[in-house]
């Protein structure tokens, strides 16, 4: 396996994806879930730019990436705001505990 720029970026995408999924699998803390979701989305952004480069539509890839950055910032903000509310009302951030409290 040679270290061409393409391979390095691909490796980065897969690594970020793996970290994100692994994180989602094992995390119980709500804030950490928001964090690993961010990692997951970062790999997607990277993949978008790479796809733009490979298909010759660099501008399209980059503009899509910029859109996703905006959208995922909103996801992070709303997610964290929810986490704050959950913590205030239920006194815990542990997801299984929150689930067991449902009506």
């Amino acid at each position: 396996m040679t270290f061409t720029p393409l391979n390095i970026v691909l490796f980065g995408i897969i690594a970020l994806l793996g970290v994100g999924f692994y994180g989602l699998l094992i995390t119980r803390n709500l804030i950490k879930i928001v964090m690993v979701l961010q990692v997951l989305i970062k790999s997607v952004i990277l993949a978008l730019v790479l796809a733009g480069k490979l298909s010759g539509n660099l501008g399209l890839g980059q503009s899509t990436a910029a859109t996703v950055i905006v959208a995922d910032t909103i996801v992070a903000v709303v997610g964290l705001a929810l986490a704050v509310q959950v913590r205030r009302r239920l006194g815990t951030l542990d997801v299984p505990q929150i689930s067991s409290m449902r009506g």
Partner: protein
């Protein structure tokens, strides 16, 4: 023009379903009026469709490569069943105005009824097997919803679930057959299957043929799936008349008749069809002998008469089966609705508590007797001509013993029919019941059906012509009404059958002493377990229940497990793609 009419017969009841639903349950009068209006319009459109019958698709809606076009083909078979569904549907809705008077949740009731009518019409008109399957499933769903309409009654809920699961077995059969057709021909069009059946590999064709037979047997409550229909009698009686006697249970017969030209050369298929019909006709007739619940007795007789139709298809008499289907739909709807007005009036379904009701309800008694005479096969009424036609074909094209069994079944039919008439309307009153007269909407529906029982056999010639000219693959023979009358009246088989019918009726009059007219301790448990086949059906139902319960454990509601599921599904897809599917 034909396309507009086809769109109307499916669209009108579905539009009506939504409108009635939107009318809210606070305005029951408006709901009654809207439901009757839309169903009558559908009936009018369905009769107009007779003028536009053709073997070519009149509507083609492209649905992409995977599904092929959604086509509607108004050929003779489809138009006949459309008219039955729409006309009897409108009469059942009209009957419901009195029957369901004062009930809660009429919106749900009429929604399901109208939705069912549209789906049933779509099922028979569709020229695309995949969409036939969709409509098939919608009818099963509506049937379930209506059997369990009184959803605070555990028996009604259990009956509905049983009907749903058993007919799903049939649905799976239909889907499997459909997918095999697609895998081999690359098309879902029914015309393609009928035209190219001979080019299919023999194994594939016989697999399709027997899957469709399972589908038909489950839907039409034939052996060995015949136990759901009696349990479905918890539904409101207009529903029993419409769905479980006149229309939905005919879907299986329709399927067999539709694909008969493709499957008739499959070794063993025609014989299996014949046997399924024969066994169903016989054991249902025996069960009807001792049933004490009026509606259950009628349900058994439905299974038995559907058995006659299946038998006719097995013997090659596609037209005879459809002719009997028409007669049966009319007189059985009449019987059910008449039974419904009795039940509505006295508040019980138990025939042991009835008796002597004829004096208080002369009109209902008269129309019930007309229906009963047609069911027993007494001359002039429509049931006589169609049943004799089936027996005639059975004598010519099936083994002699099979004909003998069916002849015996005709005698049993006469016996249990007159037993029913006697128990309900004659004899002395066994219980003090509060009887009131049938309402006027009920009387109109009953009167129309009773008139239909006298006259539908006169359509024989026109119907025959219609089917012959619009079914290119079926190779039916031309026959006029006059020829039918002369052949049937001159055949010795007819007189033999009449003798048997008379014998059955005679025995029932002689033995009409109490409610236990026949059978006894050895027959009761046998019928209760449907000759042991109820255990098979219960196994299917309980097996589905248990599997569903086990499967529900995978729904933990925990995020991590769901993520695991998503990732593993992704991995599976990746591996499949990588291996080059």
């Amino acid at each position: 023009m034909a396309g507009i009419i086809v769109a109307l017969v499916i669209g009108l009841p579905w539009l009506g379903a939504i409108v009635v639903w939107l009318a809210r349950n606070k305005h029951p009068r408006l709901q009654h009026i809207l439901a009757v209006l839309f169903s009558l319009l559908t009936a009018a459109a369905s009769i107009a469709l007779f003028m536009f019958a053709s073997s070519e698709p009149v509507i083609q809606i492209p649905f992409g490569k995977a599904f092929g076009a959604l086509t509607f083909v108004p050929d003779g078979l489809a138009v006949l069943l459309t008219a039955i569904a729409a006309v009897i549907g409108s009469l059942a809705v009209l009957f419901s105005v009195d029957y369901m008077h004062g009930e809660e949740q009429l919106g749900r009731y009429y929604f399901l009824v109208l939705f069912f009518i549209g789906a049933m019409i779509g099922l028979v008109l569709s020229g695309n097997l995949l969409f036939t399957f969709f409509f098939w499933e919608i009818t099963a769903l509506c049937s379930y919803g209506l059997i369990s309409f009184y959803n605070d009654d555990p028996k009604a809920v259990a009956g509905g679930i049983k009907a749903l699961i058993i007919t799903q077995v049939g649905g799976v059969g239909l889907l499997v057959g459909t997918l095999i057709v697609f895998a081999n021909l690359g098309s879902f069009q029914i015309a393609d299957l009928l035209g190219k059946a001979a080019t299919l590999p023999a194994a594939a064709l016989s697999l399709i043929a027997f899957s469709f037979l399972i589908a038909a047997a489950a839907k039409s409550a034939q052996f060995p799936f015949h136990t759901w229909l009696p349990d479905a009698m918890e539904a409101p009686t207009p529903i029993s008349a419409l769905i479980h006697a006149a229309t939905m249970v005919n879907a299986g017969i329709y399927l067999l008749a539709r694909f008969y030209p493709a499957f008739k050369s499959v070794p063993g298929w025609a014989m299996s069809v014949l046997l399924v019909g024969l066994i169903s006709a016989l054991i249902a007739a025996v069960s009807a002998l001792i049933a004490t619940d009026l509606k259950r007795a009628l349900a058994y007789s439905t299974v038995s008469q559907l058995g006659y139709m299946v038998y006719a298809i097995g013997a090659g008499g596609v037209f005879a089966s459809q002719f009997h289907l028409l007669s049966h739909a009319v007189f059985k709807a009449l019987l059910f609705l008449a039974a419904g007005s009795v039940i509505h009036s006295v508040g019980t379904r138990d025939m042991r508590r009835m008796g002597g009701l004829g004096r208080q309800m002369p009109f209902v008694r008269n129309v019930f007797i007309i229906g009963a005479l047609a069911l027993a096969g007494v001359p002039i009424l429509n049931g006589f001509w169609s049943k004799e036609l089936i027996l005639e074909i059975g004598l010519e094209h099936s083994p002699l013993w099979a004909y003998g069994v069916m002849l015996f079944g005709a005698g049993l039919t006469a016996f249990y029919t007159f037993r029913m008439v006697w128990l309900v309307f004659f004899g002395k009153e066994r219980d003090r019941l509060n009887v009131h007269r049938a309402g006027s909407a009920m009387r109109v529906a009953l009167g129309v059906l009773a008139a239909g029982t006298f006259v539908t056999w006169l359509f024989f010639g026109g119907l025959n012509n219609l089917l012959v000219t619009t079914l290119p693959f079926h190779e039916l023979e031309h026959e006029s009404l006059l020829e039918l009358v002369t052949t049937i009246l001159s055949a010795p088989a007819t007189w033999l059958a009449l003798l048997v019918v008379g014998l059955g009726a005679g025995i029932s009059w002689v033995r009409a002493r109490g409610y236990r007219l026949f059978g006894g301790d050895w027959l009761n448990p046998l019928v209760e377990s449907s000759f042991g086949f109820d255990s098979l059906n219960r196994f299917i139902v309980l097996g589905t229940y248990k599997a569903a319960e086990q499967f529900s454990r995978t729904q933990t509601g925990e995020l991590n497990w769901n993520i695991l599921g998503i990732i593993s599904a992704l991995l599976v897809v990746l591996v499949v793609l990588w291996l080059g599917a």
